[in-house]
């Protein structure tokens, strides 16, 4: 019998340069192991994450997307993370209409000092998307 390879989700993580990306580096410095399923894309601010980046990630084969921002009140650019939050709520409605589970698109906050939290959030995200299985949406509905 040929062993069936378990499903490994592909996830895109948008990290802001100042807090969450630094938090990811902190996790690295502390050698906090976490699953390798999240590919990081660095942006200067979570406020730069365009809803089309999320949709494009899902259309190009990602099973989930996570956006990590500075904690509320700590944004390097004052309030970019608030914009990210507004866009997140809006996009969740759209994804719902497309039949995409809300667990596939998470927004969370990680500070530059929270390496442990970064590893934990990534682990949770991978587990929840793994539990959902591969994303299957008609290609044209995202395009």
């Amino acid at each position: 019998m040929i062993p069936v390879k378990a499903f490994e989700p592909k996830i895109i993580g948008f990290l802001c340069n100042w807090c969450s990306y630094a938090g990811a580096d902190k996790a690295g410095g502390a050698q906090e192991a976490y699953p390798p399923n999240v590919q990081v894309i660095r942006v200067m601010c979570s406020g730069r994450v365009d809803p089309q980046f999320i949709l494009s990630s899902l259309a190009n084969g990602a099973d989930g997307v996570i956006v990590l921002a500075c904690h509320p009140g700590d944004c390097h650019y004052k309030e970019g993370n608030c914009r990210a939050l507004q866009r997140h709520s809006m996009l969740l409605l759209l994804l719902e209409q497309l039949g995409i589970e809300k667990e596939r698109y998470r927004l969370d906050y990680v500070s530059a000092g929270e390496g442990e939290k970064f590893a934990q959030v990534i682990t949770e995200m991978v587990e929840s998307v793994r539990a959902l299985g591969p994303l299957s949406v008609a290609q044209e509905s995202i395009d």
Binding site: Q31, R48, D50, Q52, G80, R83
Partner: protein, 650 residues
């Protein structure tokens, strides 16, 4: 397009988890023209040399460095590109150490993840464009907010160094709090006498023409950044010309309207047009519009008619003005205030007569104050016993957990001054802790201890004390195990930031600590710098401090200003900014509403927005907000990020 991927082994840090051979093999399926070079420690001197030599030999169009975090070495490798005459923005880093090798247990999984990340970077970097840093001229001049000891010292010293200074003061006079005091600790020096030469130099000294003093004014808007701030200053009308007034006070005599004088802690009256108190500088009265009977529609020009210097000195119709100034640095020297002692239960402040806070008592001691310097109770008599209560709201988690640092010293100063004026009066200090640090403070302390009419009583918690009044109307200080009858109580409340710090910090976007004091860039290394570049802190706006420390901090802020802003020297502006394509802009102004830095202006005539690259911080929020796709976020364009997404997912 030729793309060079430089893979750093970082010794075994990366090599242990990520197979460079597998990366090289995978790169064969990367976009055409990609080559992979393995380096052992690319950040080392040897590594950088190898990197630069390879770049010179290969002449790639774009470069990917797969190594550590860009937060470590992006600047290092950009410099390498510059050294070989490549534009430094044609490089992309991939963080395969902190974010892959060090956090992935399985080497096969780490290698696969690294291949995806590097492929994403190769796809992205092909779309990156050369960018140039701009050089910006700087304005070497400064705005000083607050004309107390710290602000005055800073302003005069900057002027002496040849800089133009705008000195903005909220009240009608200079000198801050100490100018209202008669004597200062530790040496009982006359405060107005000590400050007068400094104030005189600011007004009429050799460098006075470099200093623009704007009294009765507040900074209401600041745009721009280090080297090029633009400040808007709103000045209330004084209704008296500072240039022409000779300070004779004829107008004061003539004025029919009176009110309480806040500069005497509202313990005396003043006219609608009056001096803040005797001897202030600038030596001119000011008119309180809301007190003037003209505000009630009555016709009066008594002050104007009384002026011996002519018609133009008093201007009853003077309006508020907004003054705009360009400066390179800002020094915040807004000073301190006192905690409202009525918030401390049992102190009787504001409800019992003859219970004063320290500022009220300083004015009572002052020869320019409401009693002309006489210590007297509300009924006009001299007190025969005075209680001085230390630590009112300080070192107290229910109020202010910090020690205010200066109260013990001025309390012992009070002891000395009371005994000098009323040799028979008994004085009792009720204290929680005693703080008399440094080489000078002990003198007043010992004087109080040796004073046969004074005593010290220690309490554990301010809750153990209660100020009450007995049936015969006498004040009682109740404490655990007893009560003292006194004629007057002086409270030493916690030192707090001055009123208005909320608005100013919000407007300047300067952080404050949980107590409301301005936060230092670093509490020990850079205690006179705020968290915003080019905005410095001086004096008690930052923490409770005495005049000596405030003056030193004023000089520290001058040091930063002079070191950082030199006439003729430029500063560099990062090119990672946003730019509006006017041909695609629909004029909806959404970008302007999301910009945290007021960096986007709207051209009404052409109905388009434009980004000021000097003010733009490059966050990209406007790029995402633009519904027309008219804004490009340089170095983080939609196309570049989309290419990276597609690349990593391939």
């Amino acid at each position: 397009m030729k793309t060079g991927v430089y893979f750093c082994n970082c010794g075994s840090n990366i090599a242990d988890k990520i197979s460079s051979a597998a990366v090289s093999e995978a790169a064969k399926s990367f976009p055409e023209g990609t080559y992979v070079t393995i380096v052992d420690f690319i950040c080392s001197e040897d590594g950088k040399q190898q990197f630069e030599e390879s770049l010179k030999a290969e002449r790639p169009d774009r470069v990917v460095v797969a190594a550590c975090s860009p937060r470590d070495h992006e600047a290092t490798f950009r410099r390498c590109l510059t050294n070989v005459e490549m534009n430094p923005y044609l490089m992309q880093m991939v963080n395969i150490r902190e974010q892959i090798a060090w956090v992935t247990e399985d080497p096969a999984a780490a290698t696969e993840k690294a291949i995806g990340a590097i492929r994403g970077a190769v796809c992205r970097v092909r779309l990156q464009q050369p960018l140039e840093k701009k050089q910006l001229e700087v304005c070497p001049d400064a705005l000083v907010i607050g004309a107390g000891p710290a602000g005055m010292k800073a302003a005069l010293s900057l002027a002496e160094a040849g800089r133009s200074v705008v000195l903005v003061e909220r009240t009608p006079f200079m000198g801050g709090l100490p100018v209202r005091f008669d004597e200062l600790f530790p040496a009982l020096e006359c405060a107005p006498c000590m400050l007068e030469p400094l104030m005189g130099d600011l007004l009429h000294g050799d460098y006075a023409e470099k200093i623009e003093l704007i009294t009765m004014a507040e900074v209401v808007e600041v745009t721009g950044f280090y080297g090029n701030f633009i400040a808007k200053i709103r000045q209330k009308p004084r209704h008296v010309s500072l240039h022409e007034c000779i300070g004779c006070g004829e107008c004061v005599e003539a004025c029919p309207a009176t009110t309480l004088n806040v500069f005497n802690s509202s313990t005396s009256e003043r006219k609608a047009i009056d001096f803040a108190f005797a001897g202030v500088l600038p030596n001119a009265p000011f008119l309180m519009e809301d007190v003037c009977i003209r505000s009630r529609g009555e016709i009066c020009r008594a002050c104007k008619d009384a002026c011996p210097m002519g018609e133009d000195v008093v201007d009853l119709d003077e309006m508020e003005t907004v003054i705009e100034r360009t400066i390179g640095a800002i020094i915040i020297a807004t000073g301190a205030g006192l905690y409202d002692a009525s918030q401390v239960v049992g102190m009787g402040f504001g409800t019992l007569p003859d219970v004063y806070d320290a500022l009220q008592f300083e004015r009572m001691l002052s020869s320019t104050g409401p009693t002309g310097g006489e210590i007297m109770t509300a009924d006009g008599g001299a007190p025969s016993s005075v209680a001085i209560i230390h630590c009112v709201g300080s070192l107290d988690d229910a109020h202010k957990p910090y020690c205010s640092g200066i109260c013990c010293q001025y309390a012992f100063k009070f002891n000395h001054m009371i005994t000098a004026k009323l040799p028979e009066a008994t004085i009792t200090h009720y204290h929680r802790e005693l703080v008399v640090p440094g080489k000078e403070a002990h003198s007043l302390f010992h004087h109080a201890v040796e004073n046969k009419n004074s005593s010290l009583k220690r309490y554990n918690s301010i809750g153990d004390l209660a100020i009450t009044r007995n049936s015969s109307g006498q004040l009682l200080v109740n404490f655990e195990g007893g009560a003292d009858t006194v004629d007057m109580v002086i409270l030493c409340p916690a030192v707090t930031p001055a009123e208005g710090a909320d608005e100013l910090s919000a407007m300047l976007d300067v952080s404050r600590d949980s107590f409301g004091f301005y936060r230092e860039l670093h509490g020990r290394m850079d205690a006179a710098q705020s968290t915003i570049k080019g905005i410095y802190l001086a004096g008690a706006c930052q923490e409770p401090m005495d005049v000596r420390t405030a003056m030193l901090e004023g000089m520290a802020s001058v040091g930063y200003t002079l070191a950082g802003l030199q006439p003729g020297r430029t500063i560099e502006i990062e090119p990672i900014t946003a730019e509006v394509d006017e041909t695609r802009c629909s004029g909806c102004r959404l970008c302007g509403s999301v910009c945290p830095y007021h960096a986007i202006t709207f051209n009404v005539e052409q109905n388009v927005s434009a980004v000021n690259a000097v003010l733009c911080h490059g966050c990209g929020t406007c790029v995402t907000a633009c519904p027309s796709g008219a804004i490009t976020g340089h170095h983080f364009t939609n196309e570049q990020i989309m290419a990276e997404i597609e690349g990593v997912l391939k």
